[in-house]
């Protein structure tokens, strides 16, 4: 409740801001440009999604023959009933993915902030060395096999849930990005004066840096969360039990299984379980994207408020 008040006040401020702009001729021109272009871009971006949604409600046989359309062809919900045929399975996958996303994002964000704070400090002698070592990981890698070996043989973690969220908590890019946000929103002088006033690193981080870091936290948090939400690879590699699967893996497996069983020449089994392949693919996209789109507006509020260091000063 408190937060929305805060936001409302900021909104008001922004509205004042924009009414002021509208005064000039350049402001009007700019309005036309921005609303026009944004509407156009939004349309281009949303059009395929409409095709996807209507595709997911189409009849597989018709889609196979005539392709997708803006409106559903032969409206039905076969694809969804196929996916939700065993609701416990997919609900478990939703549950686990949510769990991985929440835990991974929280832990990841904490560690990212800690690390980024250290390498943003000008008085820290080894900040460039550490930055380089962090950056270096994006350029050089040993490939999948030694990485897999590390988590399964060296550290016997296969089959735990830890292994599914842990490998993605930190990203070199996220750390450096966070560093940029910190240096961009907290001037050195403020930190130095706080140090002179006797504040420790922990106090500076929580009292001075974190409050103005909201856009940065929201950005990196969003990236982390999306990464977790869209991942299938780690549970595919490490999960020994279906109940630990991520949502994307659960859905991929539906399609992959159908493909593999059909392509294998030698199964000797006649599959009675026919799957509406085309429409299921589209329904999968809806099933995966839906929840995130519901959450996204809550993240957006952090991109709207313009809290700055100036506010802290006062």
């Amino acid at each position: 409740m408190k937060r929305s008040n805060e936001q409302a006040s900021v909104e008001k401020q922004l509205n004042i801001h924009s009414t002021k702009i509208k005064k000039g001729a350049s402001g009007i021109a700019f309005d036309i440009i921005k609303y026009g272009l944004l509407t156009l871009l939004a349309l281009i971006c949303v059009l395929p999604f409409i095709i996807i949604i209507s595709g997911s409600f189409s009849e597989n046989q018709i889609v196979l023959k005539t392709g997708y359309g803006i409106l559903p062809k032969g409206f039905n919900t076969d694809a969804y009933s196929f996916i939700f045929k065993k609701p416990e399975g997919i609900l478990q996958a939703y549950k686990m993915t949510t769990y991985y996303t929440v835990v991974g994002t929280f832990v990841g964000l904490s560690v990212t902030v800690l690390t980024a704070y250290v390498i943003s400090r000008k008085t820290f002698k080894y900040r460039n060395v550490v930055s380089f070592l962090i950056y270096f990981t994006t350029i050089f890698g040993g490939g999948m096999v030694p990485w897999y070996l590390m988590y399964t043989s060296v550290l016997p973690l296969r089959g735990t849930t830890f292994i599914i969220w842990f490998p993605a908590i930190l990203g070199s890019f996220n750390i450096i990005l966070m560093r940029t946000f910190i240096t961009g929103s907290v001037p050195d002088a403020i930190i130095e004066s706080a140090k002179i006033d006797g504040a420790g690193e922990g106090t500076i981080l929580t009292r001075i840096v974190l409050p103005v870091l909201k856009p940065g936290l929201a950005t990196v948090g969003l990236f982390l969360a999306l990464g977790y939400w869209n991942d299938w690879y780690r549970s595919s590699m490490f999960a020994t039990d279906k109940k630990n699967w991520e949502l994307q893996l659960y859905l991929y497996e539906l399609v992959n299984k159908a493909n593999a069983m059909k392509e294998l020449v030698n199964t000797g089994v006649v599959l009675n379980d026919t799957m509406p392949t085309q429409t299921v693919k589209m329904a999968m996209a809806v099933v995966v994207t839906g929840p995130i789109l519901l959450v996204y507006p809550f993240v957006q509020r952090y991109f709207i408020s313009g809290i700055t260091v100036g506010a802290v000063k006062g």
Binding site: K125, T137, I139, P215
Partner: protein, 497 residues
């Protein structure tokens, strides 16, 4: 006591002789000596009892002549020739230690000859090279001794390898040289109010504690698995295992050279340049537009809609693209065919594809990429704009002189990340859009798709994939280090490291 002798030594070594001090001259001599002793013609490893070894590894000594001694730089040639994979991995690490030490010694020597103190930290920069090069020499020589006694002999044929005196000499020289540098550094540190590593830990221990989780993570997730780079130089088999399969030198890289490396490299780089350039321009442009929208619902809705393509997986993108472009049946193909009266034939005409690929890449990435810029714009203090408005700046001027310049640090970070991966293509995008359609390869094949095709038609082709990855990495590293250096010279604030 020790401190006293140390200080005395420090004083002695810092006695000025012309432009340089005594210690520098001695260090120069020792370093030069180490370099000479590390060169390929100096034997570090002697091979004494070759017959037993040759028998065990069924080597025909007539066909593959074996020399009585090898330097650490040439020893890998011996490993390759004898196919004794068990010897490879540690020798590979030692090889790099020697190469690195040689490079650093060379830099150290050149710096000692020039001997020009920097204004900010005097000779400290030069000394840090001295420390690094000698520590590496110590690692290389001590490592070689360990390798011979505790690895090579016990795992192949006992008594085959003996360390030559050269190794021990290098070890002693490097230790002496390190002591000298340390002593020299001491006075310089005092002069510039700087401090060493342990002093830094003592002062900023909390910051080091903050780094512990990050350190553990990257060690487990990245640095230890990096040992897999070695697979680029081996021919894997299960009998010997991952790290002990036969060492084959650069054989795994041959397929890249054979495969018209140039068009692949050209395509990869050109596409990436367009993606980076156009992508950032569009993202910045639309981020500014969105940030300037005052109507709340419009702002939120447009931002959400622009973000949506990010969720369209590449598999679905493939389906969408095909249903747009399919010959005669595709929506777009149909439309254009009716308009122009000509058959467009997208899937047999390579020239359309660069445009198509760029379009869909932009379409998919713009919402995601925009977030960073949007967040940065939100971080800009309102005070700047207020001040600008008082000065009578219109909205275009505000954007031009406030927003855009303040986006620069973010842009540079994104740029450096993109440049590091300039040799890596967006595999999924290309693979799903083009698939196995060879007709389009001239303009759409990138290194990643090529490597994928090679490695999927061949079982156990880990070596090839790693080799290709290494080629991309080395290329990327060189370009990034150069770019970073240029940026650092212009504005150290913006540099990545």
């Amino acid at each position: 006591m020790a401190k006293q002798t140390g200080d005395a030594l420090s004083v002695k070594l810092n006695r000025q002789i012309g432009k340089r001090n005594l210690g520098m001259l001695i260090a120069l001599g020792i370093s030069a000596l180490i370099v000479i002793l590390s060169l390929p013609f100096m034997n570090w490893i002697r091979i004494s009892y070759i017959r037993g070894f040759a028998e065990k590894y069924s080597i025909d000594l007539g066909k593959t002549p074996i020399f009585p001694g090898y330097s650490m730089l040439t020893f890998l040639g011996f490993v390759q020739k004898t196919k004794a994979g068990i010897l490879g991995f540690p020798a590979f690490l030692l090889f790099f230690a020697v190469v690195a030490s040689l490079v650093l010694h060379a830099v150290y020597i050149v710096n000692l000859i020039i001997a020009k103190p920097k204004r900010s930290n005097g000779l400290l920069g030069i000394y840090s090279f001295g420390k690094a090069s000698n520590i590496l020499s110590i690692i290389a020589s001590a490592g070689t001794i360990w390798y011979i006694f505790f690895w090579a002999n016990s795992r192949t044929f006992p008594g085959t390898f003996i360390p030559s005196p050269v190794v021990f000499i290098v070890l002693v020289l490097a230790v002496a040289n390190l002591v000298i540098v340390k002593a020299l550094e001491k006075t310089e540190l005092k002069k510039y109010h700087d401090h060493g590593f342990f002093e830094e830990v003592r002062r900023n221990w909390i910051l080091f504690v903050f780094l512990i989780p990050c350190f553990i993570y990257f060690l487990i997730n990245n640095y230890l698995p990096m040992s897999g780079i070695y697979f680029a130089f081996t021919q894997f088999n299960f009998r010997d295992g991952l790290f002990f399969s036969p060492f084959v030198g650069f054989k795994n890289f041959e397929f890249l050279v054979k495969a018209n490396l140039w068009p692949l490299t050209r395509n990869t780089i050109l596409y990436n340049i367009v993606f980076i350039g156009l992508g950032n321009v569009l993202q910045i442009f639309f981020a500014i537009l969105v940030s300037q929208v005052g109507v709340k619902w419009f702002k939120k809705t447009s931002q959400t809609l622009i973000f949506m393509p990010y969720f369209v997986s590449y598999v679905i993108l493939r389906v969408l693209v095909y249903s747009l472009l399919e010959d005669k049946l595709g929506l777009l193909d149909n439309l254009l065919g009716n308009l122009t009266g000509k058959n467009i034939d997208f899937y047999n005409t390579p020239k359309y594809w660069p445009g198509l690929i760029v379009f869909f890449s932009m379409w998919k990435g713009i919402g995601y990429g925009m977030v960073v810029y949007l967040a940065t714009i939100m971080g800009i203090s309102d005070e700047y704009y207020e001040a600008a408005k008082i000065d009578g700046a219109n909205i275009f001027q505000q954007i031009r002189f406030i927003t855009v310049p303040l986006l620069k640090p973010t842009f540079i970070i994104l740029l450096l990340y993109a440049i590091g991966g300039i040799m890596r293509g967006q595999f999924e995008l290309f693979y799903q859009m083009v698939g196995q359609n060879g007709i389009l390869y001239d303009l759409t094949d990138i290194i990643d798709t090529y490597v994928y095709r090679v490695t999927t038609t061949q079982a156990m082709s880990m070596g090839l994939a790693t080799a290709a990855g290494l080629y991309q990495s080395v290329f990327g590293l060189v370009i990034v280090v150069l770019t970073n250096w240029i940026i650092k010279r212009r504005n150290a604030e913006y540099a990545l490291f």
